[in-house]
Every structure is written in structure tokens, then in C-alpha cells.
């Protein structure tokens, strides 16, 4: 795979190609350990003492795009400024170690052709199993191979000091990546909440994160309808009537969402699991050309209503992979992507508790969550020291009667954060209706995992197959697979406060780096843009740059539009607001925009337009 010819393949510019072919050999210097090293423009690219150490380096700076693609897809890794390539060998080892199920391609981008040529001559990384390619761009902006490599990359690694020495080039290269995969203008996003349930706060976290990314977001709170949705159960025992009434209400709620999305002229409706959007409402949104995405933050095998709605969404994000993604495809879902859960660091954060709170919420060990059967069984069997049980739906005669602390009520988010902070060891056991303890086949990682970690609190969590991709299981997370491992972990970590603090700190750092709702939303929007669900900003007819094209030749109109940035996407109302903020007589363009708005409102009142 690695061949000097490859470097030439990717050099598209004839001048640069000649430069690579004709590059004079850089003088080879040797470090104390005998390996070659390199000096470039007076700066050392590798250690003059021990470059060998780079063969075993780790990559804390691995910049995952929050989630890797499914194992069926090749993962592209971008290594910037590889120098003589010592890092390639180390990177190959780390990738295989951390993601054994994945296939990778490493693309090295070297700004300087002479350095690349020297690296190819020396081939210091051989042998490696991962395919390695070199791209030496003639001009970062114009090299299509570079553009493809950058856009495909799921992981970006920067190799210093080479990166630092030519940082303007590498940063410009990475910016092309951002503009390609992120909608570069603010979107208008409606985030409707479910009527009730555990996904309600997740909708809120999503909305906050999207807002933080610079988008205009409206959180449409539907929790006020919870009582109505439960009302049929009080009115009739007949399931036929109950279903009919609940369907009517779901239809009503769906129409509310459609009406609101149309009203605010949303670009995207971002729904989490249990949001009351039925196929009819989704079809209406499609007719209105409003993109829809569902983040199914539930276990697809437990909550199965997705089968009725998933195919009507433009894209579905899941917290599980493998069979679920396959089943979604079979249901007709065109765009299905894995998107694990996360934490919101503004909510889930370390707290300095008052003594009163520490007493109220503190314990040596605790668990917060609903009383699923597997939890009942496990906590019944395993006696945990100074154990506190928080949450709802625990049978009165269960283990809750001994350890329960919240009177069987649902624990609020704020209280959860206090409990996590006040507890020495938080036990995190994923729910299951079909097991009596740890689900040996459990895959997805629950929000609690990220939330406890984000609080800087310590947890022991039951083993999940996806966990290893999200956390370093040696350094950042402690797991258990059965009762014995749980007991042992509790005993060990209760007696090792320093180790406990280390693990908790690393887990928090990892969450802040990779597992926030901001990173998830950024990734999701990039996916939606990439697959064409969201219109790239450059194609938006309401982008100021496009409006300026339409106004070409009209200096007064162009001057008016110059109040906005070219990349801004505006609505008629945005323009009208700007006009009304001004003073003095209306200019002709301003008056025409106001006239358009009056016509638009007139058309809406008469039902001529929406």
C-alpha cells in the first residue's frame, strides 16, 4: 500500500508534483538512540534524544467525531503533520487496541513535500496492518483528494511539533472540514418534548446544546398535556375507547407540533423518543419541507413504537447499533445513525454541597432509578454498605422498603445531581425486564453513566458492549458483570479514595471532551447535512449572499442587505425587525420589504399561503 507512487497520485498540481519528484533529500540526522530525526527550518520535528519513544506514544488528543461509524464501515483517520512517520506506528497500535472491531485507513497529510518524501524513503513505521496513504497537497483549497480525506475523517490526530510549525495550513485544512459538514448558518429548530417520561429532560438538553451551537431553537414543552393523555384511563376501562381517545390526543399534539413548526418556519424538527409525532403529522411536516429527525433514546427492543413512525422521519439516530440499524433500514429508514447519549455539563456538574445536603443525599453507596425487575433482584441479593435507593416504581414490599429514600417518587434532575455528588460510590445498573441482575447482552449506555461522570462523581457500572468505545475501561470507568464483581469493586474503591478520585476525574474529563450534548448535536447536524436532509446553507435561497445576487444592480437594496452578514439566513420577519429598528423615512427597498410582509400576512390570514 505504501509506495512512493502514492504520494504522487495525490499531488494534483503539476508544479508541486515536480517539486516532490525533484525534492532534494533532506539531510538525515540521527538521534542518540540511533534512529533518524529531522530538523525543518531550524526546528526539530522529532526528539534528538529518543525518537523511538514515539513508537509507543498514546493519543489523548484523539479527536473522535463523538462516535465512530458502524463496524461495517471503514473508519478514516487523519494524521496531520506526521513528520518522519513515527506516530503512524503508534497510532495503528492504539486504534487496534481501542477499537478492535473496526477497520481503519490512516491518511497522512504533510504540508511539506520534502518531509513527506523523506518519510517515504525511510518508512520508519513498517510494518503496520492499517492501510496508510500520504496526501501532499499542492494547494490545500484546491486539492480534491485532500478535501475528500478531510471530509471523510472520523478521527483527527495532530502530530506536534510539525502541526505547530505549519499550523495556519493545517487549521485552514480543518476549517474546510467544518464548513463541509456543519450547516454554516444558523438553523431554526423546533424541539418538541415528549408529554412525559425520562426523555423529557433529554429534549431540553438537546435544545440547550443546539442553542449553544448558535442555532435558533424553540423548546416546545408538551408536558402540560400529560394529564390529558392519562385521562382516558380514568374514564374507561375499555381498551378500545382508551386507544381511540389516546390516538385522538396524539393526533392533536402532532398537529400542534406541525402548526408551531410552520409558524416559526422551522428548518428542522428534532424529536426524541416518545415525542407525540405520528405518521400523519410527519407527512405534513414533509409536505411543508421541514426536515425531521428522531433520536430514539430508548431500548428499541423494549419500546417498539418506532416501527410505526421511523420511516416517516428523514433521519433516525439511535443509541444502539447492529441489529437495530439493520431493522431500521428494513423499515425504510434511509438515514439511520448511531448517536450515543451524553451529559449536559451545565446541569451535571460537581457541586459543593452544604452539610445539610450531604446528610440528606449522601451515603457510601446508592442507586438512582426506577424499580425494574433486574434491579430489584440484584439489590435484594447483594448487600451494599450504607446503601441508599432513590427513584420511583419500586414495589412497596421490595428492597426499597429497607433502603428507599425518596418515598417512591421520581427524583428530579437537580436532586439526582446532588445525590451523585453526595455519594461515595454510585451504582449504575442498566434496566432490564428480562434479567435478574446484569444483562450480559446489554449494549447501549444509559444517560446516567455520562451524567455521574460529568458530575465528577465515582460510579461502578454494569458491563455494556458499547461502553468500551466511549470510555477507557481501565482509566475512566469501573465495570462489573455480576454480583461478585460489584461487591469486589465496591469494597476495593471504598478503601481507595485516591484511585476513586482519579477515575472520576478522568471520566469527567472524557465526558467534557467527547460526550456532551453539544458534541452529539454537532455530530447529528453534520450527519444531517452530509446526507442532504438539511439544506446546506450555501443553497438556501434566503441566505443574504443569495439575496444580494437577486438584488444585483440595485445599489440601495444592496446597501440595505449589507447590514447582514453574507452567510446569514434571514426570514422576512428578520428583515422587517431590522427595518423597524432603524429611524427616519423608509427607503424604497425597506418599503418594498414591508409591503412583502403585509402581503404575506394578508395571504396567511386568508389561508392563501401558510
Amino acid at each position: 500500500m505504501l509506495d512512493a507512487q502514492i504520494i504522487l497520485q495525490y499531488v494534483t498540481d503539476v508544479g508541486s508534483r515536480r517539486a516532490v519528484e525533484a525534492a532534494a533529500d533532506l539531510p538525515t540526522a540521527y538521534a542518540r538512540d540511533g534512529l533518524p530525526t529531522l530538523t525543518w527550518k531550524g526546528a526539530r520535528l522529532h526528539s534528538a534524544v529518543n525518537p523511538r519513544s514515539e513508537f509507543v506514544r498514546t493519543f489523548p488528543e484523539l479527536e473522535a467525531c463523538s462516535v465512530l461509524p458502524p463496524t461495517s464501515e471503514t473508519v478514516h483517520v487523519l494524521l496531520l503533520a506526521p513528520g518522519l512517520g513515527y506516530a503512524i506506528k503508534a497510532l495503528d497500535r492504539e486504534l487496534r487496541l481501542n477499537f478492535p472491531a473496526h477497520q481503519f485507513v490512516i491518511t497522512c497529510v504533510e504540508a511539506d513535500a520534502e518531509i513527506a518524501r523523506k518519510a517515504l524513503q525511510l518508512r520508519l513505521w513498517e510494518p503496520v496492518q492499517t492501510p496508510v496513504r500520504f496526501v501532499v497537497p499542492s494547494d490545500g483549497e484546491q486539492c480534491p483528494e485532500l478535501t475528500v480525506a478531510v471530509s471523510r475523517a472520523a478521527i483527527v490526530v495532530r502530530s506536534t511539533p510539525g502541526y505547530r510549525l505549519q499550523s495556519p495550513f493545517y487549521e485552514a485544512t480543518l476549517r474546510t472540514r467544518c464548513t463541509r459538514t456543519q450547516p454554516s448558518a444558523p438553523l431554526r429548530i423546533l424541539v418538541p418534548t415528549p408529554v412525559y417520561g425520562g426523555s423529557v429532560p433529554i429534549a431540553g438538553y438537546c435544545a440547550s446544546a443546539l442553542r449553544e451551537l448558535g442555532h435558533e431553537v424553540e423548546l416546545f414543552d408538551l408536558t402540560a398535556y400529560a394529564e390529558m393523555l392519562n385521562a382516558p384511563q380514568k374514564i374507561t376501562a375499555d381498551s378500545k375507547h382508551r386507544t381511540a381517545l389516546q390516538t385522538l390526543l396524539s393526533t392533536y399534539l402532532g398537529e400542534l407540533i406541525v402548526a408551531r413548526a410552520a409558524e416559526i418556519q422551522a428548518d428542522l424538527v428534532w424529536a426524541v423518543a416518545q415525542t407525540p409525532l405520528m405518521p400523519m403529522a410527519l407527512l405534513e411536516l414533509r409536505e411543508l419541507k421541514i426536515a425531521t429527525a428522531l433520536w430514539f433514546v430508548e431500548d428499541y427492543q423494549t419500546l417498539t413504537y418506532w416501527r410505526q413512525v421511523a420511516s416517516e422521519y428523514d433521519a433516525v439516530f439511535t443509541i444502539q447499533r447492529g441489529p437495530f440499524l439493520e431493522e431500521l433500514k428494513q423499515c425504510g429508514v434511509t438515514h439511520a445513525h448511531y448517536l450515543p447519549l451524553a451529559a449536559d455539563p451545565r446541569v451535571h456538574k460537581p457541586l459543593t454541597l452544604t452539610q445539610q445536603d450531604q446528610q440528606r443525599y449522601g451515603s457510601a453507596t446508592s442507586f438512582v432509578g426506577a424499580g425494574y425487575p433486574n434491579r430489584q433482584h440484584l439489590f435484594e441479593r447483594v448487600a451494599l454498605p450504607d446503601f441508599a435507593l432513590w427513584g420511583n416504581d419500586w414495589p412497596a414490599q421490595s428492597v426499597y422498603s429497607r433502603y428507599g429514600r425518596s418515598d417512591g417518587k421520581r427524583v428530579s434532575t437537580e436532586e439526582c445531581v446532588r445525590i451523585y455528588n453526595a455519594t461515595t460510590i454510585n451504582v449504575n445498573l442498566h434496566s432490564s425486564n428480562r434479567h435478574d441482575g446484569v444483562n450480559p447482552h446489554g449494549d447501549f449506555v444509559n444517560p446516567r453513566t455520562f451524567e455521574i461522570a460529568a458530575c465528577g462523581a465515582f460510579q461502578v457500572v454494569d458491563h455494556r458492549s458499547e461502553l468500551a468505545e466511549l470510555f477507557d475501561l481501565e482509566q475512566e470507568m469501573v465495570t462489573f458483570s455480576d454480583d461478585g464483581e460489584l461487591t469486589a469493586a465496591i469494597e476495593h474503591y471504598l478503601n481507595n479514595p485516591e484511585r476513586r478520585a482519579q477515575v472520576a476525574a478522568r471520566a469527567r474529563a472524557r465526558v467534557l471532551k467527547d460526550h456532551t450534548y453539544v458534541t452529539r448535536m454537532k455530530s447529528a447536524l453534520a450527519q444531517l447535512t452530509e446526507v442532504g436532509v438539511l439544506v446546506p446553507a450555501r443553497d438556501n435561497p434566503n441566505r443574504i449572499a443569495r439575496l444580494k445576487e437577486a438584488a444585483a444592480g440595485d445599489e440601495e437594496l444592496l446597501q440595505f442587505l449589507s447590514q447582514f452578514a453574507d452567510n446569514d439566513t434571514v426570514t422576512l420577519d428578520d428583515i422587517a425587525t431590522k427595518i423597524l429598528e432603524g429611524s427616519g423615512d423608509l427607503s424604497p427597498p425597506e418599503a418594498l420589504f414591508m409591503m412583502m410582509r403585509e402581503f404575506r400576512d394578508w395571504g396567511r390570514v386568508r389561508g392563501v399561503i401558510q
Binding site: 413548526a261 410552520a262 416559526i264 418556519q265 422551522a266 428548518d267 411543508l288 419541507k289 421541514i290 435561497p541 434566503n542 443569495r546 439575496l547 445576487e549 437577486a550 438584488a551 440595485d554 437594496l557 434571514v570 426570514t571 422576512l572 428583515i575 427595518i579 423597524l580 432603524g582 429611524s583 427616519g584 423615512d585 423608509l586 424604497p588 427597498p589 418599503a591 418594498l592 414591508m594 409591503m595 412583502m596 403585509e598 402581503f599 404575506r600 394578508w602 395571504g603 396567511r604 392563501v608 399561503i609 401558510q610
Partner: protein
């Protein structure tokens, strides 16, 4: 340079367009060498093109604009292109006078965007603020807000907006070419009418169902007209085809429906050829009047003869009598009871008289008012009450005299001297003195005008109260639309005071002894 134009913007209704014909003629007569451009919406373009005074019609394609503004995927680029195409139209590049006949924000913004030597009617100036130039436009806006006091026909108000008076023209105000006449004849022949056969046209449609006389009544009249030897043609648009078919069927084919089979031009030719037009208050009824064809108007629901009677001499209007007067335009009618208040027998009686070229006998039906139109010596349309159920309307005469004097200084102060020294004239004087008091305050501080809340008039008789209310409404509208630029502001204040002074003069004059020189109000003159 592009030929100079005079531009009239009218986005309202076909009927309003026809009723603005004298206003358009007044502008055209003032600037005969300049192009008169009528800007209207696509639906009204065919009607606009029929008006003789109009040189060209410019379509504001609001349908296309709305399509580009369709949420949530509005295409502002496209909307800008369309609007620019329109605004860059050559005919809008060298405007002498620009009149906004509509009273909508859309047209006001459009007029605000167009450069013109003089602009009249509602226009936008400041951020989201409107102003209005032309004292009769202020009057029009005050009437739109509260029309119950008005005693001017809309045609007269429109015409005064262009500083014109609606002297009847010798030739028809609507254009019909020979080819269209032939098309109409062919159509009539196809429906069994020979070249010189006399016929009546029915207009059973209207913009709202509460303005429509019942189809069975139309059918009844058609049957009786047939017995008198008249054929009946029903006209209307495609949307009124079922209405036409229903009347034809109920009349046992005494009436033939042409609904949907005529364009505006052919309709105009048919109306011109008809011996009588019977219909609801609609555009075609006004077209018939503009063509000089006798009309019998059936004014149902919110339609009011005093406002929109067919313009011209000798038209007859039947209108249900209701304690509350005609319905409000903005309040949907619940029962529409009055639709049945005009009996077919009365309609056929009037129709026979009109067809015979005779005056209609006074109406004896207590539930129906009958009016006949006539042009008075001031050039205003009057509706003469020929109904026994209603008293004569001196108040309307006073009202028109007051406004003509206050706004245009036309006529003498308190011209209807016959009313002097009656209780009404005492009330008028009382009102005049109150107005002088206000003027004294304004003299001390003109800014009071913009913040002055004119109290409701004291308890007066109906005629004086009506006049007082209309004047208060007028001043309110005027103050709401006060311009903010200093020069325009001062002129506006001066003009307002001038109007108030004239109003006071008219009111106080009614106390002057007969044959003595009129008293002049010295305030601020």
C-alpha cells in the same frame, strides 16, 4: 426620459374600480398628455382595462409574490426578483401624481416605495407609520372606519379625492370595441335572443352570501318578466355557475344562464345592450350604471344605498329596513334574514316601471326602503326616498353641504337656509361654538391637535349628532396620520385648522338671519 405618468393604485374590488371611474377621468382630464396607469391585482386587471380613462394597466402580481413567500420554505431571492421586476417597470419611473385608492398597508408600503412628484392617499413614511395626503382621503378613511353617518356616494368621495366633481359624461366611461359587441350578439343569438330583442340581465352573485337576494326570488321575477315579454340573462363568473343554473331551473328556463361563459369585455357589452339590470350590489351593477343602462339594485346585508348606489340618474334601489341599519362589514351576519325582506312582487313592479321608462310608484312595503338616484345641483349623487316607510332625509343634504364647505369651500356656508332657526339649526350653532372653543385652545398651542381627544358631542338631534360624529372621526383619523417631518407637520396643522375654521363657519352661519352677510370665524384665519 420616459413619458410622465399619473399612477393610481387600487387593490380593492372590481366594484370599487368601476366606482373610481370619474376620479380616473378627473386625473386624465387634468393631465391629458400624460399616461394614466392603473396598478391593480391580477384578478381585477380585466375590469381595470375596461375603464376608458385608463391608458394602461400594470398588474401587481401578488399571486406570484405570495407563492415566493410561502412559508416555511419562503424564497426571498425569488420574491426580491419579482418585486424588483415590478418596481423597475418604466411606467413607475417618472410619476407626477400617485394616488393610493386602497386603504391597505400593502398599497401604502408600495406607494411609499415609489418616487412621485405628489403622493395622495395612505402612504408609509416613517418606520411602520402611515401618513395620508388629501383631505378627502382622510374623509374616506374616516368613513371606512365608521360609515353610518356618511351621506356621500362612494363615487363622489373618490372623485373629490382627485379634486374632481363627477359631472356625468356624455360617453360611456367603459370601453367596448365592435368585436366585443359582435361577440355579445353571437352569444345572445346562441341563447335564442334576436338582434333587437329586449332583455333583462340578472346579477345574482355577490362577494358574500349575505349580500345575495335569494335565487328563488330571482327565478320568480324571471318567470313574471317572461310573461311581460322580456327574456332574462343571468351573468356571473365561473364560480357562480351553479347559482345561474339554479335560477334557470327554478324559472323553468325563463332565464338563461351565461355564468362563466363571458369574459369582462363581453359582460360589459351585454350590460350595455340590456334594457334593465337587476342585481345585488356588485361590480357588474356599477358597470351597468357606468354604461348608462337602468339598474334596479337589491341592497342586502351590509350593502347601503347611501354609500354605493349605482351612480347616475334614475337608478332604483330596494333595501330592507332594519332598526340597526345595514350590517357591519366586519361582523359576519348570523341569520341573513333580510335577504328575504324584499318581495319579488315589488321587484317586478319596479322592473316593469323602469322598462317602461316610467318612475316607480312609491313603495308601500313597510319592510323595504326604495330609493331613486339623482344628481343634485352640487354635482353630488342623492338617493331620493320614494318609500312611504321612511321620512325625507334633510340631514343628508346638510351633511353633504357641511363637508363640501369644510373640505373644499364649495357652496355657501350653511347653504340649506330653509332649515334656519329650527331646532336643528340651534344644535348646529351649539356645535359650532364648541368647535370655536377647541380652536381657541389650538390657537394657543397647535400641538394640542395631535393629542387632543375630541369629546363626544353633547346630546343633539340625530342629524346634528351624525354630523358631529363624522367630524370627530375625521379629525381623529387626521391626527392619527399626522406627518412627523417638521415642514409637512406644520402644513398639516395649518390645513387642519383651516378645515376646522370652515366647519365652525358653516355651523355658526345657521344662526345668521336670512339674507344677512355670513358671520366669519376669525380664529386663526
Amino acid at each position: 426620459m420616459r413619458r410622465r405618468t399619473n399612477v393610481v393604485v387600487n387593490f380593492t374590488r372590481a366594484g370599487d374600480l368601476i366606482q373610481s371611474r370619474y376620479m380616473l377621468r378627473a386625473i386624465k382630464e387634468r393631465y391629458p398628455d400624460e399616461e394614466l396607469v392603473l396598478v391593480t391585482l391580477p384578478a381585477f386587471a380585466p375590469t381595470a382595462q375596461c375603464i376608458r380613462a385608463v391608458d394602461s394597466v400594470l398588474i401587481a402580481d401578488a399571486d406570484a409574490w405570495l407563492s415566493a413567500l410561502h412559508a416555511p420554505r419562503a424564497d426571498l431571492s425569488q420574491a426580491i426578483k419579482l418585486i424588483r421586476e415590478f418596481a423597475n417597470e418604466q411606467r413607475l419611473s417618472n410619476i407626477r401624481t400617485l394616488h393610493n385608492m386602497s386603504h391597505t398597508p400593502q398599497s401604502a408600503y408600495l406607494c411609499g416605495a415609489l418616487a412621485a412628484q405628489s403622493r395622495y392617499g395612505l402612504v408609509t413614511t416613517d418606520r411602520g407609520r402611515f401618513s395620508c395626503r388629501g383631505r378627502w382621503y382622510h374623509y374616506l378613511l374616516s368613513v371606512i372606519r365608521e360609515r353610518k353617518h356618511n351621506a356621500f356616494n362612494l363615487v363622489d368621495v373618490f372623485t373629490r379625492c382627485a379634486d374632481g366633481y363627477a359631472a356625468l359624461a356624455s360617453e360611456s366611461e367603459l370601453k367596448i370595441d365592435d368585436a366585443t359587441h359582435r361577440q355579445a350578439e353571437t352569444l345572445l343569438t346562441r341563447h335564442g335572443l334576436s338582434a333587437h330583442e329586449r332583455f333583462v340581465v340578472f346579477i345574482p352573485g355577490a362577494s358574500a352570501s349575505n349580500r345575495q337576494w335569494p335565487t328563488e326570488h330571482f327565478a320568480d321575477v324571471a318567470s313574471q318578466l317572461k310573461a311581460c315579454g322580456y327574456r332574462t340573462i343571468i351573468t356571473g363568473g365561473q364560480g357562480e355557475a351553479s347559482l345561474g343554473e339554479s335560477i334557470a331551473r327554478q324559472s323553468r328556463e325563463a332565464a338563461a344562464s351565461l355564468c362563466g361563459s363571458t369574459d369582462i369585455n363581453v359582460l360589459v357589452a351585454l350590460l350595455k345592450r340590456a334594457n334593465l339590470v337587476i342585481g345585488n350590489d356588485t361590480g357588474p351593477l356599477h358597470m351597468a350604471a357606468a354604461l348608462g343602462t337602468p339598474t334596479l339594485g337589491l341592497y342586502i346585508g351590509p350593502a347601503a344605498a347611501k354609500d354605493t348606489a349605482p351612480y347616475g340618474e334614475g337608478h332604483v334601489i330596494l333595501q330592507p329596513i332594519r332598526a340597526s341599519g345595514p350590517c357591519d362589514y366586519r361582523t359576519p351576519c348570523v341569520t341573513c334574514d333580510c335577504r328575504y325582506q324584499i318581495p319579488p312582487a315589488l321587484v317586478i313592479k319596479c322592473a316593469r316601471a323602469l322598462l317602461a321608462g316610467q318612475q316607480c310608484a312609491p313603495c308601500v312595503d313597510k319592510a323595504v326602503a326604495m330609493f331613486e338616484t339623482q344628481i343634485n345641483t352640487s354635482g353630488d349623487l342623492e338617493i331620493r326616498n320614494v318609500s312611504q316607510a321612511m321620512a325625507g332625509d334633510d340631514a343628508a343634504t346638510h351633511y353633504r353641504s357641511f363637508w363640501n364647505y369644510a373640505l373644499d369651500a364649495v357652496g355657501d356656508a350653511f347653504a340649506p337656509r330653509s332649515a334656519a332657526r329650527t331646532q336643528t339649526s340651534v344644535y348646529y350653532a351649539q356645535l359650532g361654538r364648541r368647535l370655536v372653543e377647541v380652536l381657541e385652545q389650538v390657537k394657543r398651542n397647535p400641538l394640542l391637535l395631535s393629542s387632543y381627544h375630541f369629546d363626544n358631542p353633547p346630546a343633539l338631534d340625530a342629524a346634528t349628532a351624525s354630523l358631529a360624529c363624522s367630524f370627530v372621526n375625521f379629525l381623529k383619523v387626521r391626527m392619527e396620520l399626522i406627518p412627523h417631518r417638521s415642514e409637512a407637520y406644520l402644513n398639516y396643522i395649518d390645513e387642519t385648522i383651516e378645515i376646522m375654521v370652515r366647519a365652525a363657519e358653516w355651523l355658526l352661519e345657521c344662526e345668521a338671519p336670512a339674507n344677512q352677510s355670513s358671520r366669519r370665524v376669525s380664529v386663526m384665519r
